[in-house]
């Protein structure tokens, strides 16, 4: 049996008194495109942010590629990782945000080069060569010198994907990558993601694009109110949901 890329066992997360994740169990296999759907406020983003330790979980276990996220286990004791050790873990996990979060003071190519230079200590030349290749891959080689404000939303999001890929991650997290985009720009971003999936990247995608989930997804989970309500193959869940909550949600979004 191969190690799952992501394994969550009884993951709980609260913000103060607000209990957001109420015991999430799931497994993501390597090279799998794993889609996460659910109503607003159900905790999808929160769960995604737990995977790269932007949020600390309160209970349960969460591991990426067999390694606990944010902790080290010795015997039966857990030790919190230092800031630098957490940073080391995050290198291998790329993340793409709903609002792009490109660095506005850097050009597109500088955005892509930044992390390899700062984190991996790559030389500028090596980082630039890879960045050029990645920008070409997302169809933006002619926009390398543009600042983010000089790019459309769809172009910004594709630069953001290239930026995450520059670290050569083994897992990519997408948090509603197309919901801040005008409808005609969504396609370009989805195409890039489709290409990534074909190349065998492991991806967890929070999305409202049911078409994408059905077409590209290998697994799909419906979350509501901090728990996994239903999971299975996207085709099955989307066409023949078993739970009432899934049914009522899908009837609203499809």
């Amino acid at each position: 049996m191969t190690t799952p890329m992501v394994k969550a066992e009884g993951v709980h997360k609260s913000f103060g008194a607000a209990h957001i994740l109420k015991g999430i169990d799931l497994e993501v296999a390597p090279r799998e495109v794993f889609c996460l759907i659910g109503p607003s406020g159900s905790g999808k983003s929160t769960f995604l942010r737990c995977i790269n330790h932007l949020e600390k979980i309160n209970a349960g276990r969460l591991s990426v590629d067999g390694e606990l996220v944010g902790y080290r286990q010795k015997g039966d004791k857990l030790y919190e990782l230092k800031d630098s050790e957490v940073a080391l873990q995050r290198r291998d996990i790329g993340m793409v945000f709903q609002r792009f979060n490109l660095f506005p003071h850097m050009t597109a190519i500088e955005n892509v080069m930044e992390a390899p230079i700062q984190v991996k200590g790559e030389t500028k030349a090596v980082a630039r060569a890879r960045a050029e290749k990645l920008l070409d891959r997302v169809g933006l080689s002619d926009k390398a010198g543009n600042y983010p404000t000089q790019l459309s939303g769809g172009q910004q999001q594709r630069v953001a994907i290239a930026r995450a890929l520059a670290m050569e991650p083994k897992l990519m997290l997408f948090d509603e990558p197309t919901s801040a985009l005008d409808p005609e720009l969504v396609g370009d971003v989805l195409d890039v993601m489709r290409g990534l999936a074909e190349d065998g990247m492991t991806m967890i995608v929070v999305t409202h694009e049911m078409g994408f989930a059905r077409e590209v997804g290998d697994a799909l989970v419906f979350m509501d109110d901090g728990v996994v309500v239903e999971s299975g193959h996207p085709r099955d869940v989307l066409t023949d949901p078993q739970h009432d909550r899934t049914k009522s949600f899908l009837s609203k979004v499809l």
């Binding site: 940073a87 290198r91 790329g94 660095f103 700062q118």
Partner: protein, 322 residues
């Protein structure tokens, strides 16, 4: 001024062209009497009158104008202006560095560092800089000897030269103000930036240096420019610690040559020249750090002149891209 409005409409061909007889004649331009801005004229006359009166008063005052001209480039005056500039720049640089450190400490999750920074800011903002300067100046009264075990030992009066008093007094006070400016700047940067940086595997320190601070600068620089211009003027207070800056060097000439007022004019001219020069510098600095926040930067005054000149040669030109 011309009051004729009979130019041919723009775009109409110059030479005689065959125009069909039935074409509508060019519309007659409106002939109207423009609104009279009486208020502007009155206010202009009043201001000119006041200026003339002021000029007359000064010309009648007991002022030796030639002394102002003579002493403007006196070598002691120039040296004083140089020291004013030196102490202001050094104090500012030190103040900014310490201010950034304090701001980061203040925002740190570590309660001890945050509290230390708070205490520092509380003290240095809460007391007048003049008092702080005198405190440094008189430090020898309570610590005659500066003794850092195994590292350094000297008479306090040897360490606390007028220059050191002036520098420490101005810089440490400035740091408190800069800390608050930097804190506001850092907090103005969107949280998504920090998250994106962390998600890429950048550490807290790298995130601060490479992502947050460069963006905070856009917010930090304008008030910092004001702080520096203030510093140029506040530095006149180091008179009190006998540092020979502009005001002190001019006043010394003034009291020995009985040209007190004249020498104050000399000092004023130097101060106003220095602050004006730095205001221009600030404009260009702010422009540079607006990169990435605007789609295209507005033209500088100089570029506008060039564009206007080029327009005479009919060469079109647009904005400069950021």
């Amino acid at each position: 001024m011309t009051d004729k409005f009979d130019r041919t409409p723009a775009g109409s061909p110059a030479g005689p062209v065959s125009v069909s007889k039935g074409a509508t004649p060019a519309p007659e331009n409106i002939k109207a009497i423009p609104v009279r801005h009486v208020g502007r004229w009155i206010s202009g006359v009043v201001v000119i009158g006041l200026l003339v009166a002021l000029g007359y008063a000064f010309s009648q005052g007991n002022i030796q104008w030639h002394a102002v001209g003579d002493k403007l480039f006196d070598k002691n005056v120039v040296a004083g202006a140089g020291r004013t500039l030196l102490i202001s720049v050094l104090a500012m640089v030190l103040g900014v560095i310490l201010g950034v450190v304090l701001a980061v400490m203040r925002l740190s999750k570590n309660p001890v560092t945050s509290w230390v920074a708070w205490l520092y800011i509380w003290f240095f903002r809460g007391t007048p800089v003049y008092v702080q300067l005198l405190l440094w100046f008189n430090l020898a009264l309570i610590f005659p000897v500066l003794n850092i075990p195994f590292i350094y030992k000297d008479e306090m009066t040897d360490v606390m030269t007028p220059f050191m008093c002036a520098l420490l007094g101005l810089a440490l006070n400035e740091a408190a103000y800069m800390a608050e400016i930097c804190r506001a700047g850092i907090q103005s940067v969107d949280e998504g930036q920090t998250e994106a940086s962390h998600a890429l595997g950048m550490t807290q320190g790298k995130t601060m240096r490479r992502v947050v601070l460069p963006q905070a600068l856009r917010v930090i620089i304008p008030p910092t420019g004001n702080e520096f211009i203030n510093m140029l003027k506040t530095s006149s207070l180091v008179y009190a610690v006998t540092y020979n800056e502009l005001l002190r060097s001019t006043s010394q000439i003034g009291s020995t040559s009985y040209a007190v007022m004249e020498m104050l004019f000399v000092a004023s001219i130097w101060y106003i020249v220095m602050t004006s020069v730095f205001s221009v510098g600030q404009y260009y600095l702010e422009r540079r750090f607006a990169r990435g926040s605007l789609r295209s930067l507005p033209l500088t005054p100089w570029q506008r002149v060039k564009v206007n000149l080029a327009a005479f040669g009919n060469r079109p030109s647009g904005g400069v891209s950021a």
